[in-house]
Symmetry: D2
Subunit: 385 residues, 4 copies
């Protein structure tokens, strides 16, 4: 590859949050350039945002349909290679489908779609087109998460027996959606966010992290969802008892009303021989506990890590990497994969990997199964797709 | 009070664990002396243990019945004031009932009895006799636990909305009961331990801690118990979804197969305004989190603490107090209460308090309700006594 | 500004470490593009490195002189705006002087030069040309470091009395310079690194951090330097007692032979009313300790922070930012300053600031005074420039 | 030994702090009983304190001379075995000398005496009498400190190269000695405290901890002492550069004006292969760092610890032990030693050990050498006794 990959963006104008994060992440490694955007459904914001990002005037679009049409019509050496979709959940599916139809690879925010049905339809389209889709489950981009997956995969802690995963935030402790917080507003509106608020926004991350690290799949669950803040329209808190396909059990906790918590995602996994513990807020350490030996603290950037963990580090130990680097790892691995396709070469998929439609389907099914369980008086509900 | 209180002990010989802990705790403040014991059902151990504790030969007993009979027959200025019962769970009830009948106050290990029925019978006897019973739920003896209770009681974090309590140990990760571990053996035998292994041994601590700090009561629950280690006779792991009588919800996790964990009891409580977090393994700090202000770390031994927290500290800040001091606080408050009764004075019960039969009944009912829920296919079971 | 700033780079080829870090940092915010480079003194590496960064063939240079000449000859709308110098210490001065003479702004790695004399000459040249120079003392780019400076400046902890600053690394615990570690080799060679190894490489960072946060200046010092690893040519360890111009005292510790340490830079500052503590390896927390109140933990990304701290955060609380983001803040503030100059506008220097020549001179004088003190049998040496 | 050891106490009345700590520590294991005391120079306090401790009326003394005389005249099966001296520093020497002359073993608070000369005289007396003296350098009683000593002794981290020891308190941040704080008053009065305030009170602890763990001796030093709080009569802050007898170097920091610190004693030791780190405020963990492997966290109460560490633990892992247990270990090992003497048996001195006069002499010489260095304009002063 002798050039940067060309990225377009749908959503992510100056009135949004996550789009800026995607750009920081995509910029970091110098392998991707933003060439066009339909950055807002508000035309003025779309234009001013595009200008502030130094986009060419003729590639600042005001609808995603226009952007996908016009970019598809550009010559191959100019048109964007892929599009990043960073709109609210309800506006993922249509642009993703159209982008694939027009021949563009896709990066898409989680949860992948508004419903499981949409996710299944998108999966079909991805398979038809053979294009590449990256679902930004950011937390699996952390090197120490990848190290954890590697350790479990090679049997370091023995067969997994118990998993605790928790994702605690406090930012919805008040009825912020009524006080002008746009992000709170759409996330607590089922039409825009999906069937569950807390599970769509953060529960799917916890679920994805669990299945990613352990290599297991949830087979049954027992869920409780709550609307804690009065007058809220959608759940803001939940807990789920889990059973896994290897016989292990677990607990998944997700809440957005834990006043005083920031973005406290943590996972603890116990096997026959020991345990692993990782905290997103101190992401460069992975605790490896042993039944009868001192606990070890594995650190990002260290020489003793696995190849996949090293591949996802940019700095030596003690130079903390964070959320943006984890996010950038998704773009890095996606762009390595794309570049290899363009060059007609290949990547080592054991090391160069990222979440895609399969993870999106599992996540959407998780949400739907949790909602079904919450509404049921039966204790256990089979996880079904 | 111009003398030490006189303590007798049932169980706690050199072949046991928790008895030694009780003695360390009872000794610490110099207000209690051990005067007699029926320290083991093994006669030789009972005698050698008594001698190693410098007991008078005529007050080393070989059965609790003998001890209670003979001590009751001693003159008032010589006989023991109270008896501490530190036998396995199944052997709590009979000596406690007899001790009360003979007029002795009682300290008793948790869980209070083998069954809820026994606990209710014991409660009746305590009320009849008017004697004092202390149930050693050690963890409520920590000053920062008392501070947490105080903060919630005075509304610092607003109405409680969410509670997470977890108690993770790893010592039963292997089938130790088959390898000569006596403590593991009786704890995994329902006849000696009760209906649930993990809930009787540590789940009741987590439950008691939760109700103590929050001042709430569990009203409904949904439980899952597991036998994780093959060929074990009783559950070694469990998780329970909780609903409280104020509408809050929670999760209680208790496991003894978290390989690599020591005695990791922790609680997080979130209210409308902020949250509290406490970890038994770093007991001198209490984290107070705020929705929109920096987290504060309250520390044992500090001048800004409440009266009840200060009353339960022995050293200034930075001189860490631990498990034995928490345990000693139970003995301290019990002995202050007893001394006041003997002197005909009174104590300030807002400050001088300890767990008793009421907490024991709640704990036994918790175990029984959890077992009932575990066996049920209904999601929610009402907590009933 | 309606375009990205154009950056050239001297040093930083594929055989180097810090150049890649600079590029990651410069890329992140999407305001800077790398347009040319003289990336190595090895011609082949210079060319291959330039290609791998997608530089135009005619802007891949093989000497810095060629680059500065040719870039200066390009039309204004094409030539680079500034040059980043990431060569070893001994090769900072000449390209920096030439760049300034050719009219280019400069970003330069620390320590600014090989000697104090060079730093003073560079200062003169910067003043003559009126160009902008940014010295990459990365650690002052962290938002919580800026918050600490702000808190002290507004008197939160009262007059500063005591400072402890420590920078512990372990990577030179063995004689790595003899085992093919190029970075170790030049850093332990006084001709390339300067008069002191440990103080040039990391001691200046600790010194800069101290003067930056406290707003104080070191006035006297008492230093001890050691060559700990046998057969090493330059010191790898040192400690310095400090006196400050307000009467406060301090201790600065820097070592590269603390086996097992990564990049452990930490500072503790105590004033009349309280103290501040910050650890580079957990950079998103700033501890604020009080004489008679609970410690507070201030967190990056929080709404309660000062304007300068917020300006240097990219993500909300709980999304950890790290070393690369701190580094990117230097580039961000430098590029905002440059853009304002180009646009004929101005920036708020209370918020948009970065280290420059003045800090470079203080650092070089620190090294020279430390070496002088180390060689002296007098206890105290006046800090002089 | 078929009885408890009998302890007398000089100082430690209800108006004092450390005496109560000694009693808690001595009580804990049930091997020592307090039989008499001269608890205050204030007669009323001496008497009321004795009564509150349930001492027999005829063994509540009002001067230490009276106590030592009268106890010496009691029959062997009644008189105290040893005396604990917990008076301010200036009042250690005379009672200790008289106690030894009367044939009593001695426990004595640190620093051992007011001056080095007194310490040397006491040493002579101890040797003459052959009696046992225990100096309560509490911090060496922690099991993880003993583990650290053991690890270094067996070469785990290789030859020691660098030591950082720091002891930071904040309680003297204000002029408390003028506000009725009796402890602050005598500690800042050279006649009662000795030549240095901060070094006598806490610097000797840091010094003792360093020599104890490393097995090294300080050979040269360079000290700076400060009176930070205006109008204070004695230093409250200091830092010392150290050289050790094996060529290693170090830094010792002691301050009582670090506002917001409690009792923050910490030590970091680096050798050729790795490092050790221990914090008194989290005493149950010992960090073992490796040059090229993950850090290990060794925990009190674990099965993998050395015999000496295990001997000094009372509870299994995860049941935190603290300051009082460390203190109790001094009494435990002292009483095991005394009991063995009385029984005519012996103890394993590799495991049953405690600080004595030799450590007291090294500590007093440390204080005097630091004061000499502080007053000197020479950089280095040889450590001499």
């Amino acid at each position: 590859m002798n050039r940067k990959l060309r990225m377009g963006m749908i959503g992510g104008g100056s009135d949004a949050f996550i789009g800026a994060i995607h750009r920081l992440a995509a910029n970091m490694d110098g392998k991707i350039e933003l060439v066009c955007g339909a950055l807002s459904i508000n035309k003025e914001i779309a234009i001013s945002s595009g200008r502030s990002l130094f986009l060419a005037e003729d590639r600042i679009y005001t609808t995603y349909e226009e952007m996908l049409e016009k970019e598809a019509a550009l010559p191959a050496d100019k048109r964007m290679d892929f599009v990043t979709i960073v709109t609210p959940n309800f506006a993922h599916f249509a642009p993703a489908m159209m982008a694939l139809e027009k021949g563009f690879h896709v990066v898409i925010e989680k949860p992948i779609t508004l419903s499981l049905d949409e996710a299944l339809a998108l999966d079909k389209k991805v398979k038809e087109t053979g294009l590449v889709l990256c679902l930004t489950h950011t937390y699996t981009g952390y090197p120490m998460v990848k190290e954890a997956k590697n350790l479990i995969n090679k049997g370091t802690i023995g067969k997994v027996r118990k998993v605790y995963v928790e994702y605690r935030q406090g930012w919805l402790s008040k009825l912020s959606e009524r006080e002008g917080n746009a992000g709170a507003a759409w996330r607590t509106d089922a039409k825009k966010s999906g069937k569950s608020g807390v599970m769509g926004d953060i529960g799917t991350h916890a679920f994805n992290l669990t299945e990613y690290i352990t290599g297991l799949q949830v087979s049954e669950l027992c869920a409780n969802l709550n609307i804690v803040v009065e007058n809220r329209a959608l759940d803001d808190d939940g807990a789920v008892l889990l059973k896994f396909n290897n016989g292990a059990s677990g607990v998944l906790m997700a809440t957005q009303v834990a006043a005083g918590e920031e973005n406290n995602l943590a996972i603890r996994i116990y096997g026959e021989l020991g345990g692993l513990e990782w905290h997103q807020q101190e992401p460069n350490s992975l605790l490896l506990k042993w039944y009868d030996k001192p606990m070890e603290t594995l650190r990002a950037g260290s020489g003793y890590l696995s190849d996949i963990a090293k591949h996802n580090c940019r700095t030596p130990g003690g130079h903390p990497e964070g959320y943006l680097e984890a996010f950038a790892n998704l773009y890095k691995n996606f762009s390595l994969t794309l570049a290899a396709r363009i060059d007609g070469t290949s990547v080592n998929k054991d090391v160069v990997e990222f979440p895609s439609v399969a993870e999106g389907i599992r996540g959407m099914a998780f949400i739907e199964n949790v909602v079904r369980s919450n509404e049921s008086s039966d204790k256990w509900v089979a996880y079904s797709i």
